[in-house]
Assembly symmetry: C2
């Protein structure tokens, strides 16, 4: 019997080469086991899972480093909104090819983000597919027992807060697709780059997680459009909401495009891929959360109020007129 | 603004319709949140993730109910081998279509297995794909702190035990592909069905988990072929092994095919998809584990001994001659 001591399968070899360096947590067991161990001292483990598919959630022309970051960050964003501290993740990678030119930058970028966000790789599975590539990540976070921030706790009178700016990623996708925004920004490469990078590489707001846990009555991340996601939160809490559209935070680029009538604000409210935190906070604690955000380098903006009732959330313009949103969210499905 | 109170996206609607009934654990939050809560009283959470891809891990002609069972059971099998009690799972479903004729039996069968194995759905993500369908599951189990059974604890002198029978699934796949086994069993529909069902619907050995935890020094499930998986376990433990091939448990159908020279035993030792538990046990505890298996309705068979050294495992026939295995395992990759 001839048999060398190399890993016995191509999958093992690939895992050892690219992903073992990311498995820094002792619970990952160096990726030599089929399973990982997630320790708990009695706190709750928060579990979230999100997949990205080539041609659906990212473009076939996107680079492997940004794909890796997006795949992990959309999950980190969920943990942030739940008030959870990242604990690790498992990765399922459906690959068409095993080219080093793709895997090396993918694994390196994933490793950088895993380190930046203190969310080590715990395990995974690599499979081959003849179809589009797909990255499915299940991420874990920790919260003190019973303290995960859900969607059901919003109460009438709560202030509605959102981090960062809204709509940039949808504009970035339009630039990449050569839409109206691309034309309008033809002579502004900086603005184009800012918007594109908002689409390709989300900035999960994990720095705000503890503040969300301490102050928010309900929270979620904005991934499918602010309007649609707020609607889901209100439905889960059994409440309604009024949003002051003029307060919704916009980037300079987005504000410029609205002023120039290239896009309308409704498009931004329904645009996807923001990966900002949307949360509701008792009025007396609103300033505290905004201040904690500022201390963490994040802008947190009050954009409206939770109302009693079950009517759809209302979006009011500067004159108090209700906007008619044709579309609430962006659906990949 | 016109907007009804139905779920705002097609994905939400699909989840509510098919998968909410499976989310029986309070930590699943009725699938209305982006995240789930996994409670822990300080025990370790065991995490495992395995994906199945159409055309790679199952056949495009396979029925949705068996696909669902296989997707969950390959993960349950990992938990069993780690000595863990199932706690729940999250599901990523990459779908080409949303036909009720596929989703209904898929979700029903998944729900039945979730109930049978006490492993409720905690959350998930559904994405659309233009390519082959794919089901990625991350499953969770619980073990008392520090008691997960790894791959690194096998010691010289330990007995090597395996549950059930080996090689049937590889023979079933050959039947489905119309290979030599299909021809040999042309007049034996019962044997064909038995082998096919071993390929399509694994029987995870979760009933043995506690006994594995109490007695095994190392364990893993046999998914890529007994020979290759034993080689991995030995490598992780820094030991070698001798297997008495005549002791390897075979089904009546497999034994008949060998007797008739349709297949050779090497094919069975390297065949994939067995989903049996392979474990190593101190000699004094071997009988106890076998008895616990019997009490749980499972056949557990001693097939060899762990040896000192780093040589590849040796497979000896009835005359003590070493078999030359051309191939150690089945690789989908």
């Amino acid at each position: 019997m001839t048999q060398d001591k190399e890993p016995v399968s191509a999958e093992d070899s690939l895992i050892a080469r690219y992903f073992k360096p990311l498995a820094t947590d002792p619970g990952a067991l160096g990726l030599v086991d089929d399973a990982a161990i997630l320790k708990s001292q009695g706190e709750d483990i928060v579990v979230t899972t999100d997949a990205v598919v080539e041609g659906v959630h990212y473009l076939a022309t996107d680079q492997p480093d940004t794909i890796a970051r997006k795949a992990l960050r959309v999950n980190l964003s969920d943990l942030a909104a739940k008030g959870a501290t990242p604990a690790g993740f498992v990765l399922t990678l459906a690959l068409r090819s095993k080219e080093d030119a793709w895997l090396r930058p993918f694994a390196d970028a994933l490793g950088e983000d895993a380190k930046t966000f203190a969310c080590p790789l715990l395990g995974g599975d690599t499979v081959s597919t003849p179809g589009p590539q797909m990255i499915s990540i299940t991420a874990f976070g920790r919260v003190p027992r019973g303290q995960m921030v859900g969607r059901t706790g919003a109460r009438p009178g709560d202030r509605i807060l959102v981090t960062g700016t809204i709509g940039d990623a949808a504009l970035g996708l339009d630039v990449l697709k050569g839409g109206a925004v691309a034309g309008a920004l033809a002579s502004d490469p900086h603005a184009r780059e800012v918007l594109i990078s908002r689409y390709r590489v989300p900035q999960p707001r994990n720095a705000l997680a503890q503040a969300v846990r301490e102050h928010a009555t309900a929270a979620m991340d904005v991934s499918d459009g602010l309007a649609g996601d707020l609607t889901k939160l209100c439905a889960a809490s059994g409440v309604s909401a009024t949003i002051d559209v003029a307060s919704v935070p916009l980037s300079a680029a987005a504000a410029g495009l609205i002023a120039a009538n290239v896009v309308c604000v409704e498009t931004l409210l329904a645009g996807g891929d923001d990966y900002e935190v949307l949360c509701t906070v008792p009025p007396a604690q609103s300033d505290a959360l905004i201040a904690l955000g500022r201390a963490a380098g994040l802008t947190v903006t009050a954009i409206g109020t939770i109302m009693a009732g079950h009517e759809p959330a209302r979006f009011l313009d500067g004159q108090g007129q209700e906007l008619a949103l044709k579309r609430l969210s962006y659906s990949h499905f």
